[in-house]
């Protein structure tokens, strides 16, 4: 992300935060420093810093980290990123419907795939075993609420 784009993101965030700071409800408790005092101070600081950064970026004084050494990816970077993120998304979406083990296995395989491990039976078995051990350890032995292991409620 270029400094100029980052400055815009920062300013948009500060604007959204400023809007949220204005909708903090008034407390019935009489206090010298209310619930919105610190948020307003922090948002003001963020806004001021965002503006300073934007001016600095506009003048070309902020270095683009993306141009530094070691910041150039190999081909297929988008695919790898999407696979990793997709795995996390699949876990979150699948958990309520499929139980713990299947989504966790899918997530593990996606993560492994984003680090160049192929989608294979070996990957399936390893990720499945890890997911199952985690579920047994935390859910059955330690009593942590991970939900059922499978969609059949087991």
């Amino acid at each position: 992300m270029t400094p100029w784009r980052f400055a815009w993101v920062l300013l948009v965030m500060a604007a959204v935060a400023a809007w949220q700071a204005t909708v903090i409800p008034e407390s019935a408790i009489q206090m010298t420093v209310g619930a919105s005092a610190v948020p307003i101070a922090v948002v003001s600081l963020l806004l001021a810093l965002g503006l300073l950064y934007a001016v600095s970026a506009w003048r070309g004084k902020q270095a683009d980290e993306g141009l530094e050494e070691g910041q150039t990816p190999l081909a297929g970077s988008t695919k790898r990123l999407l696979t990793l993120l997709g795995g996390g998304l699949a876990f979150m979406i699948g958990l309520p419907w499929l139980g713990f083990v299947i989504p966790a296995t899918a997530c593990g395989m996606c993560v492994a795939s984003s680090f160049d491990a192929p989608f294979s039976l070996k990957s399936l078995l390893i990720c499945g075993a890890i997911a199952l051990v985690f579920w047994v350890l935390f859910s059955q032995i330690l009593g942590v609420g991970l939900g059922p292991a499978s969609p059949f409620g087991v």
Binding site: L10, M13, A17, Q20, A21, I24, P25, E26, S27, I29, M31, G34, A35, S36, V38, P39, V42, V43, L45, L46, L49, G50, L52, Y53, S56, Q62, G70, T72, P73, L74, A75, G76, S77, R80, L81, T83, L84, L85, G88, V111, S114, F115, D116, F138, L142, G143, V144
Partner: protein, 398 residues
Amino acid sequence: MDAFNALMGGFANALQPATLMWGFIGCLVGTMVGVLPGIGPALTIALLLPLTYHVPATSMFVMFAGIYYGAAYGGSTTSILIKTPGEASSMMTAIEGNQMARAGRAGPALATAAIGSFVAGTVGTIALTFVAPMVVNAALAFGPAEYFSLMILSLIAVSAVLGNSVLRGLIALALGALFGLVGMDLQTGQPRFTFGQSQLFDGIEVTVAAVGLFAIGEALFLAWQGRESKGSEVMKVSGSLMLSKKDWSRSWKPWLRGTFFGFPIGAMPAGGAELPTLLSYYTEKKLSKHPEEFGKGAIEGVAGPEAANNAAAAGVLMPLLTLGIPTSATAAIMLSAFEGYGIQTGPGLFSAQSSLVWTLIASLYVGNVICWCSICRWWACGSSCSKFRRLGCMRASS
């Protein structure tokens, strides 16, 4: 003398085979979770809370103490080897230690972290045993003005050490403060920055933020970059695990300074382990004869913060045990464990649960030794294990 006699009684309990076993399990689990990025002692103790239904209170708290100390030891390993701190307080170690590892000095970095942790843990536990009343009084004397001063001090320290750009450091600081405000206001109960979503009422957990920033962020970067770009050379857990004379001379003062930052600030409400770690790093940077090495692998930048981190772990236990005030997430979860056993924390704890408290303190000494021995043993094994080297150096050769 009373404290000494009570401590001896605590040792008599802590060295019972069953209690010792729980302490050993705690140290082992703690070291493992410290090594694993994103899983800290708070999360681990929270996950193990169901065990309170099955295990006696003394054994349970000895294990929790072992987890707490073990995590403080283990956190430095991933920070140094793969630049992924297990906890926020290992952030500075990740910066300097990883640079040392990249420069072929992973061994001395790990060694100074372990020895510093041991020294600080021991001194901190001695202070917890004998100096507790004085430090508690000092912590109690803190009022709003002192808190404000402490916050300003931490903000200045943070903005001074964050990279080369003060502006970007301050922006990160403001963003952190903004995210910290999300949730219900503790004083008035008003929701802030929640967008009307009840899921945000409890705010953003520190653990979640740390995992997102450090572990997932690093995973995303590595996946984006691709494996081949890191080169084929796998960097070893290089350098001797024994410190050279020069390393000793550059480390011992930071260990002591880190200890003296860590313990009192860890004992203060809102002190925690992050602030002394940052202060220690900042101080070492200012006092070092080689300030140009900071950010490129200065051993003082590992020794001081690691000592501060471990001393703070002992310091955090003091207000918990003497006043019933948790000053960190881990202490808060331990407090809930006390409540789970029906034990009332506060000034009366030392008299009402004398055996439990002194066994816990004695187990800290024992746990400190176990953790130090086990982590050194592990590294010694790891230095001759190619798979460990590969794990430790995934990014190092990029």
